[in-house]
């Protein structure tokens, strides 16, 4: 999966840099909107099909919602702090981080504000997923099981779910999915919200 993503983005960058007919670049906007609509619909089908999110939350208690809230707070506060080391404003670093690992949605939302922020958001959110995959086994072993769902954020409900469950136990799956779903819903709200700050 990671390899396909790297291959696709590299091919795109090369095509855009060397070939880049104006018409192709301009039609990308429509392609992105269309593709995103399709992807969001499919992700929705996948969430709806499992159909147990609300019951799951009721079963483990509403306190489970504190996990995604903690992920958002930690992500935004530390992202703001990272601006001290970078030639960026806290608003910009927070905008990049508010993608919460959803690299196919967040960069598209930022594209209308700035091309560099959009590219940064893509890279950062892909890195979040890749580093999560690497770090989850260590976090599970040395820090704690619930902490594993903090790393991939929105991706905890799908792509990284098998890794979280494999490194922890079945009881963490429900936390991972509910946290991932809540965070996925937060992304399209959080990104523009941060940009409006």
């Amino acid at each position: 999966m990671t390899r396909s993503i790297v291959a696709a983005v590299t091919a795109g960058i090369l095509a855009g840099y060397f070939i880049a007919p104006e018409a192709l670049v301009r039609s990308c906007g429509a392609l992105i909107t269309g593709g995103l609509c399709l992807l969001l619909f499919l992700v929705g089908l996948d969430i709806g099909r499992q159909g147990t999110i609300l019951e799951d939350i009721k079963k483990v208690g509403f306190r489970v919602l504190l996990f995604p809230v903690a992920v958002i707070v930690g992500t935004l506060v530390f992202a703001a702090a990272s601006s001290l080391l970078l030639p960026l404003s806290p608003r910009e670093t927070m905008a990049v981080a508010s993608g919460l690992g959803w690299y196919s949605l967040a960069p598209m939302l930022l594209a209308e504000y700035s091309a560099s922020l959009s590219a940064m958001s893509f890279l950062s959110n892909v890195m979040r997923e890749v580093l999560s995959i690497v770090l989850i086994p260590f976090v599970a072993k040395y820090i704690g099981h619930t902490e594993c769902i903090a790393l991939p954020a929105a991706a905890a409900m799908d792509t990284t779910l098998p890794i979280v469950v494999g490194a922890t136990s079945d009881r963490i799956a429900i936390y991972s999915i509910t946290s991932g779903v809540v965070l996925s819903f937060a992304v399209p709200v959080l990104v523009p919200l941060v940009m409006e700050l």
Partner: protein
């Protein structure tokens, strides 16, 4: 919030509604995974084309990558710390089990 955003959220909500009404949690839907992968590849390639066609972005790709990496490390550390604090506050042990159950 602008209208595109409402459209995105609306479409996702429609997917959830249709998925919960018409699909079963047990059955495996191979086409769903394949179609998701296809849409993802198209999106990522289109995003790449946009990055590549923008001279300002290409000329600073190294700095952009480095910034992205620093932000990611901070983000991971921050979410980890906050989740750890919440777990302690909720009285869960390292396996996520409540100590007094």
């Amino acid at each position: 919030m602008d209208t595109t955003l409402l459209l995105y959220i609306g479409i996702m909500a429609a997917g959830i509604l249709i998925g919960s009404r018409t699909m079963s949690p047990e059955k495996e839907y191979k086409w769903l995974g394949r179609l998701q992968f296809l849409a993802l590849m198209v999106l990522i390639t289109a995003l790449g084309i946009r990055i590549g066609a923008d001279d300002k972005v290409v000329s600073s790709l190294k700095e952009i990558g480095l910034s992205a990496f620093v932000i990611t490390i901070f983000t991971l550390a921050g979410s980890l710390l906050c989740l750890w604090l919440v777990r302690k506050w909720m009285g869960l042990d390292r396996e996520g089990v409540k100590k007094d159950d």
